[in-house]
């Protein structure tokens, strides 16, 4: 395959990833809310896609898909403020995941858990900063436990998905 058509395929696949991540954000809003436990607790389904892009292509691509997903989702389904929370979570999450992946000693599932927990930490921090109410920190322990549980599930899902996707991408490079 020529370099040019490899690039075309990459751009197409990244655009597709953004679309799938956006659909997953929307599906997540339709799921039964667990926010009577702690506000903002959720599965983090779009992270399946972000982790796959991170492992298939790299940090730049993963960060791009993640941030474009947040911006488009906030424009279509929610509001700029919700988008800002999403962006804060996504930015710290992708930074932590990229760093841990770079060390080379952590599994994808652990990277996913760290990404989920750091996402929640960033959002609680921003929430405390915006509302100027430190009492919100009291939700942090539950959100971290939620992050571990959902990060584990998402990590396993991403691992299974990536095993199948890897063949698809490998064939392109030859």
């Amino acid at each position: 395959m020529s370099k040019n058509s490899y690039h075309t395929k990459k751009i197409t696949l990244l655009a597709l990833s953004v679309a799938v991540a956006m659909i997953l954000s929307y599906v997540e809003m339709l799921l039964p809310s667990l926010s009577h436990i702690a506000p903002g607790i959720k599965m983090g389904l779009p992270n399946i896609v972000i982790i796959c892009v991170l492992y298939l292509y790299g940090v730049k691509e993963g960060a791009a898909v993640s941030l474009i997903r947040v911006i488009l989702t906030s424009l279509l389904f929610t509001s700029p403020l919700t988008g800002a929370y999403g962006a804060a979570g996504a930015a710290l999450s992708i930074a932590v995941m990229a760093l841990l992946k770079k060390t080379g000693i952590f599994s994808m599932i652990f990277v996913s858990i760290a990404g989920a927990v750091s996402h929640n930490v960033a959002q609680v921090a921003l929430c405390v900063a915006i509302t100027a109410t430190p009492a919100i920190l009291s939700y942090l322990p539950l959100l971290m436990i939620g992050g571990i549980v959902s990060g584990l599930a998402i990590g396993i899902a991403a691992f299974l998905l990536l095993k199948r996707l890897k063949n698809l991408i490998k064939n392109d490079r030859s």
């Binding site: 926010s35 903002g40 919700t82 080379g104 100027a132 009492a135 009291s138």
Partner: protein, 153 residues
């Protein structure tokens, strides 16, 4: 790359579970030591942008309407048959009943788990309901504030 890291992975197999279990135990400990509370609250405090705008007792049932216009919040009580079309834009309707508080109506665009109306009923002191979009935090206070109904500003 996978081959290079395989050795390191085998040696450090305990690292990941250790970190996860450590963080899990730490979170659980923090939760049960500092957060978990089964004491029923006696009043609520409504904060907007970090400033207390109203306090109400939990002992008396009522509906509290908060309307946000720009940076200003207006707080008033309304009675049962209401129509949300009468409210000004950017409203939250808080219901106090049987010693619990919940947000029953809000016109913010948030959906899913961040939406304040999805956060359910709260009754224990220290718990809170957060409406990000309108920058409101409703916190339940314990202690013996009693029947004091303080509406300031």
């Amino acid at each position: 790359m996978e081959l290079q890291t395989k050795k390191a992975k085998k040696k450090l197999w305990w690292l990941e579970p250790l970190i996860v279990v450590f963080v899990l135990i730490l979170s659980l400990a923090c939760y049960f030591l500092f957060v978990h509370n089964t004491k029923e609250g006696s009043s609520i405090k409504i904060e907007a942008a970090g400033r207390v705008i109203a306090e109400y007792s939990l002992r008396q049932d009522r509906l509290i309407l908060i309307e946000k216009q720009g940076d200003r919040y207006s707080v008033r009580e309304i009675s049962a048959p209401y129509s949300t079309s009468d409210f000004k834009e950017n409203y939250n309707l808080i219901s106090i009943g049987n010693g619990t508080v919940r947000v029953i109506e809000a016109d913010c665009p948030a959906r899913g788990s961040t939406r304040c109306t999805n956060q359910g009923e709260r009754s224990h002191s220290g718990e809170s309901i957060i409406c990000l979009e309108h920058n409101l935090v409703i916190t339940i206070l314990g202690g013996e504030e009693g029947e004091l109904d303080l509406v300031s500003k």
